[in-house]
């Protein structure tokens, strides 16, 4: 799919653009270093080469986890746009909205004149990335696929935004806390865990999800941990047969999507319900691959292995 005709067309366009820039650059030889010359090239989370001005001053975040990272790096004053889902920290809510994570408003993004747009693969915005590339707006994509990769993605964002020192400190702290959790649960027996995203239909988390990684690090073993789909609709019969010892579910989203009564009715024979071990985790802490994911990890570890 990557080698579609539109990609070819796009490559031709890029080539033309590069040629044009080169021409403009040549025309300016001898002049004091222009903007184009100042740009540095970075490789983003998808392996794309992105050329970005050092210390970008007008940053747009297209994902809540990215917003949290940028604010944690002290970039609050340089963030000019966020999504409607960016609700942490509190100050993020006051920023200009460029639409929601699933459907950002391209015109709004352009009108904010960003010198950097940061996208997270969690929000599946590949098409938008392409459009922004065509408009010559630098797009940096972060792509953390595991808990420890979040720290790495923070370091890279630190480099891109010229806040390396702070990023190294933050990432280091996160890694220390992850290590501490691993040390604490290391020798303990790993309980079988059912993670419930919703009941009706029952949705759980598969192998390649953050939540599965979190459960592993927190010293548990997900009963749906070998599913290849990320968020499969899962058989209740299999849950009963695999007898989870702990049931983990995100706490209230406003409406009850995980109904405790459903869990108790259907899974009454499982050790988890018989010993009353339903662990409620804060969704924003376990769902967002940002600085607070370690808090989610600690919450989960506390639930799986209470002190």
């Amino acid at each position: 799919m990557r080698h579609s005709p539109s990609t070819a067309k796009f490559n031709a366009f890029l080539f033309a653009l590069t040629a044009l820039l080169f021409y403009v650059g040549c025309g300016r030889t001898g002049a004091p270093t222009g903007e184009a010359g100042d740009r540095r090239s970075f490789t983003d989370g998808l392996g794309r080469a992105v050329s970005i001005t050092p210390n970008p001053q007008r940053i747009i975040s297209l994902a809540p986890n990215v917003t949290e990272i940028l604010f944690a790096l002290g970039l609050e004053s340089r963030v000019v746009g966020v999504t409607g889902y960016c609700d942490f920290p509190e100050a993020a809510k006051a920023k200009d909205k460029v639409g929601d994570t699933l459907q950002p408003n391209l015109e709004k993004i352009v009108s904010l004149k960003p010198d950097l747009v940061v996208v997270s693969t969690a929000s599946q915005l590949e098409n938008l990335t392409r459009r922004l590339d065509q408009l010559a707006i630098p797009v940096y994509v972060t792509n953390p696929r595991a808990v420890r990769e979040v720290a790495a993605s923070i370091r890279s964002l630190g480099e891109v935004t010229g806040t390396s020192e702070r990023a190294l400190g933050l990432a280091g702290q996160m890694e220390t806390r992850i290590d501490a959790v691993e040390r604490r649960v290391g020798g303990l027996a790993r309980p079988r865990v059912l993670y419930v995203l919703q009941t009706g239909p029952l949705i759980t988390a598969g192998r390649n999800t953050f939540i599965n990684d979190l459960i592993n690090i927190a010293g548990g073993k997900s009963i749906s941990g070998d599913e290849t789909a990320d968020y499969p609709q899962f058989s209740r019969e299999t849950v009963v047969a695999r007898a989870p010892e702990v049931i983990v579910a995100p706490s209230s989203h406003g409406a009850e999507f995980v109904k405790e009564s459903d869990l108790r009715r259907d899974f009454g024979t499982t050790p988890a319900i018989r010993s009353n071990r339903i662990v409620w985790v804060t969704p924003d802490l376990v769902d967002r691959p940002g600085p607070r994911i370690v808090e989610g990890l600690e919450q989960l570890a506390e639930g799986l292995h209470p002190r």
Binding site: Q198, P232, Q233, F234
Partner: protein, 359 residues
């Protein structure tokens, strides 16, 4: 419109022989008991199939022990799997399938239109919209969703039926009604899309999955509601089936022959929307059952509504049961949306019927 496929007055036209057009008690009995037998067979098979294997030899003894209160040969987990998860789900599939197929048969007969079904008329859309409203605003209501959902579903179906009926009512011209229904269902699906676009992420996922049909949450309330609705609906419609037969020739003629056409129309409309509301709120929007099943029944057993309505009930139950068994076993322990499977089965069957009726 292919009214003639519904009426089939000329015995020579039906390939199954001339007897098909004249319903005898014996033939009705044969058709119904054959379908019931098939349903029973598939239900037993479905009870044996699932993501977890339970030795099929122990199922019958387990059932006996359940009834007599003796020690079950099943472990506690197996007992839960068979009697608390699999059996209610099979019952729900049967109830939802029966309700949808009866509603489809009733709408097709009443409107003398082979394309009429709860979906085309927008009744399913109304039920879905009602149920989605219940899902989204459930937290603000003090009752549990499982009770609210069927009520909202029925209310949505009934309101849409009334609106479509008012908009499209023309003496002896079913086309207007279908047109009103099509407009209504397009409008409703836009409203649903708009509502899902405005709901937050998690709610969105819930609604989209539920819209594709979900029989897995064997909430007992929904189960009783839909089975009760199917039983009441089938009874009401069977009592109206003689009148429906006459009205299929034309409402004026039926009126001249002493049928209270207005009363029959209302009774059939309301019953069919109750059935749709119950089915959609209990099992999500499962498509093609209401459209395809009555056609298959007519093809096999003629178009006398006294037989078409009960036979469609059993046929629809069979179709949803088979689809749901595939949905929960094909990729086990992953499950598929049941509505996707009914469409996968139903669409080719429908195309086959269309091609066949052209010859």
């Amino acid at each position: 419109m292919k009214v003639e496929t519904l009426i089939e007055q000329d015995p020579n036209q039906s390939p199954g022989g001339p007897s098909k057009s004249y319903l005898t008690r014996r033939r009705a009995l044969i058709v119904i008991s054959a379908l019931l037998l098939a349903l029973l067979g598939f239900a037993v098979a479905a009870l044996n199939l699932g993501s977890e294997r339970v030795a099929s030899g122990s199922l019958f003894p387990a059932l006996i022990s359940k009834l007599t209160g003796t020690v079950s040969p099943l472990s506690r987990e197996q007992d839960v799997i068979i009697f608390s998860l699999r059996l209610p789900r099979i019952a729900l599939a049967i109830g939802v399938g029966a309700a949808l197929a009866i509603a489809g048969a009733a709408f097709q007969a009443l409107l003398r239109n082979p394309l009429a079904d709860p979906y085309v008329l927008g009744v399913s859309g109304g039920a879905a919209l009602g149920s989605i409203t219940a899902i989204i605003f459930a937290s603000e209501l003090s009752y549990s969703v499982s009770y609210i959902r069927p009520l909202f579903g029925f209310a949505g179906a009934a309101i849409v039926t009334l609106v479509v009926y008012r908009l499209g009512r023309r003496e002896d011209d079913p086309a207007h009604l279908i047109l009103a229904g099509v407009v209504m269902s397009t409008f409703l699906s836009s409203v649903i899309v708009l509502m899902t676009a405005m709901a937050d992420n998690v709610k969105l996922r819930n609604i989209t999955l539920w819209l594709l049909g979900d029989l897995s949450s064997g909430a007992v309330e929904g189960l009783f509601f839909v089975i009760g609705a199917a039983a009441v609906g089938a009874t009401v419609l069977v009592t109206q089936s003689r009148a429906l037969n006459l009205m299929m020739i034309g409402e004026r003629d039926a009126f001249a022959m002493g049928v209270e056409t207005a009363r029959v129309r209302w009774a059939v409309h309301l019953t069919a929307s109750l059935l749709t509301g119950a089915a959609v709120s209990a099992g999500g929007a499962i498509g093609y059952v209401g459209l395809v099943t009555p056609h298959l029944v007519r093809l096999a057993a003629g178009s006398d509504n006294r037989l078409v309505i009960p036979a469609s009930a059993i046929g629809g139950a069979l179709m949803v049961l088979i689809a749901d068994t595939i949905a929960r076993t094909a990729l086990a322990p992953r499950e598929l949306p049941t509505g996707a499977i009914t469409a996968l089965i139903g669409a080719p069957v429908f195309v086959y019927l269309l091609l066949k009726s052209r010859k």
